[in-house]
Symmetry: C2
Subunit: 358 residues, 2 copies
């Protein structure tokens, strides 16, 4: 089969890690008989430099026409002074919205080989944990109206944002979460703040309605403040966490940090037709950009998610994940995950070792 | 001096722990020559049972007229089926709003004697940490309009909430945070989501304006998702964290859990004239209510905050905190903080030991 992939290398370490990941995809293609065609486009800081804006119509069109999008990372201090409407991160929000990527899957798994890097005590972690955060990505206060008004109490200029969820949006993300849980440990924890927010009350009512469609799945509700605590207290209690855009932003980052393997974690953002954007959860790490020492594993694992979720290539996805696992088990490390005194591989050495396993 | 305290024992373990705390206040009064007058009022579940609503005008009036309010905990499964407008937690929101308690101070300190209970690895914690979360408590999406509307995209019923902050509200909480920092380690980290929210952009602009009034304080901004990570990665980096109501709800709970001493943590909520409501951050723990085994320390430490912040009784506040410290250092524990096999004191035994130190 042939697949067209739009490639947004982006800023900072983006180009280095994406280059390794593309070579991994090529190796998968060789072994399994697929061809991946890449079309590189600009987004983020490099697009601001070239075009004056972080996301052009051309980039959007190419991403829409591709079978999926591979993204490195966007942003960096160079664009800190750019006015907020034109900041690099607007490229991310713009792509999510233009492609309708309403579901964001963020696995937070502790890699056993890296358990030393986990910040939580081993008594709490036990045999490890494997959480899938299923974050809604095109709604909530992120995409409501953002505006200023005068305070009606005479309290001066007021920043305001419209937080909201419709029944349809909740059903759509909710069903995805249940479907994911059916392929995993059959547990869904829905996180909201229904004791305060109307948005959350519609969220919770809708979740309660659809949960009956999945009688095999154990369902629970949790308040967001409690979830922020439970992730630290006992992360193993979770399987799939489903939540809105804002709470998902916070909780998925917290869950990632708890794994201690933040340079290793991939993400997938998908729309209704299965098209997706795949990217590491870490940032553009401008401090180490261009040095060839960045860890490409999160991007490579993002390609595995692309193979699985957008192309339905299960064996191929497993092969990539197993290759990464094997390389880690053999003790190979990039600088970010090397123990003090341990040898650190370059970005391309790590990529090559993973390809050698394929 | 004489002080009038409105006492909301509340539900679950509330009555037991507040009773101990009142006796500690009485002991402080004896030793330092003050008289504390208590007026007990109902709020939360017990008020629903007695009056059909969680918070009556009478309770509000008595709390307003008192010099400060001591609260145990409200809520429990008994009132889970009560319609959302009448839930026990509405008593908390109602009191915060009626008394104008715009600043919520939540210290997150690791008690050295309890470092075994900390979920984070000792390499990360080092010499411990001492964070003060300064949460805005009467604004944000908590107190904006909550309503339902039809989706304008044909996506069905939509829950909506108005998130907002005015310049005045941010200045008010911001100055409090800087003043607290001046008495501590002179660092303020302001947490927002200014890359997405207009509310946060007004927040950040205002903070940047007032920070120049406190040139001795080291100021930084942090996005809320990053803060949720940094609290796990390196809590010692923080001194005062100042943030809005919603982010403060999530981050203060996360910070509490990271201390590992959640049964020990007090809180203060104050208004412009210094009146405050003081309460433990833990809940009503209905599972152990009435057994006389709850840990009264968080409530007792809340009284210390009352002495310090509402009554300006610094020596008295220090005396209470030192008494708690001494009892913990001597190895005394209630069930929630006892190591396996260690002797667990009852609520009143713990209270008596603390009073004996005064
Ligand atoms: C850069 C920012 C707008 C973005 C978000 O909040 O969604 C990021 O934090 C993420 O989680 O992808
Ligand atoms: C009970 C609830 C409304 C409340 C809040 O969200 O403020 C609680 O979580 C708290 O932090 O005091």
């Amino acid at each position: 089969m042939e697949y067209n992939i739009a490639v947004v290398k982006g800023d900072g370490i983006g180009p280095e890690i994406v280059t390794e990941a593309m070579q991994v995809l090529d190796k998968v293609g060789e072994r399994f008989g697929h061809t991946f065609h890449y079309q590189e486009v600009l987004a983020g800081g490099c697009s601001i430099d070239a075009n004056g804006i972080p996301l052009t119509e051309e980039t959007i069109e190419i991403c829409k026409n591709a079978d999926s999008v591979l993204l490195g990372a966007v942003g960096g201090p160079k664009w800190d002074e750019v006015p907020s409407e034109k900041r690099p991160e607007k490229a991310l929000l713009g792509l999510r919205s233009a492609l309708g990527l309403f579901v964001n899957l963020r696995p937070a798994q502790m890699h056993k080989a890296l358990s030393d890097a986990c910040p939580i005590k081993p008594e709490i972690i036990g045999d490890g944990f494997d959480i899938l955060v299923c974050r809604e990505l095109t709604g909530d206060v992120y995409f409501g109206r953002h505006y200023r008004r005068e305070s009606d109490k005479g309290w001066g200029e007021t920043g305001a944002d419209d937080m909201n969820y419709s029944v349809y949006e909740v059903e759509r993300i909710g069903r995805r979460a249940f479907e994911m849980a059916m392929k995993r440990n059959k547990k869904v924890c829905s996180v909201d703040k229904a004791n305060v927010l109307e948005t959350s009350r519609v969220w919770r009512e809708t979740m309660h309605r659809i949960k009956d469609e999945y009688p095999e799945v154990a369902y629970s509700d949790m308040y967001v403040d409690n979830c922020a605590m439970q992730l630290v207290r006992n992360p193993s209690q979770f399987d799939v966490i489903v939540t809105g855009n804002l709470f998902g932003d916070i909780l998925s980052d917290e869950a990632s940090m708890i794994t201690g393997s933040i340079g290793m974690l991939p993400s997938a953002s998908m729309n209704e037709s299965g098209k997706g954007m795949y990217e590491p959860i870490h940032g553009s790490a401008p401090d180490i950009a261009g040095k060839g020492i960045a860890n490409p594993i999160a991007t490579i694992l993002s390609c595995a998610m692309m193979l699985r979720y957008s192309f339905g290539l299960m064996a191929e996805a497993d092969a990539v994940e197993n290759a990464v696992e094997a390389v880690l088990d053999a003790g190979h490390r990039t600088a970010d995950i090397a123990a003090p005194g341990e040898k650190a591989l370059s970005t391309s050495e790590m990529g090559a070792l993973i390809r050698a396993q394929l």
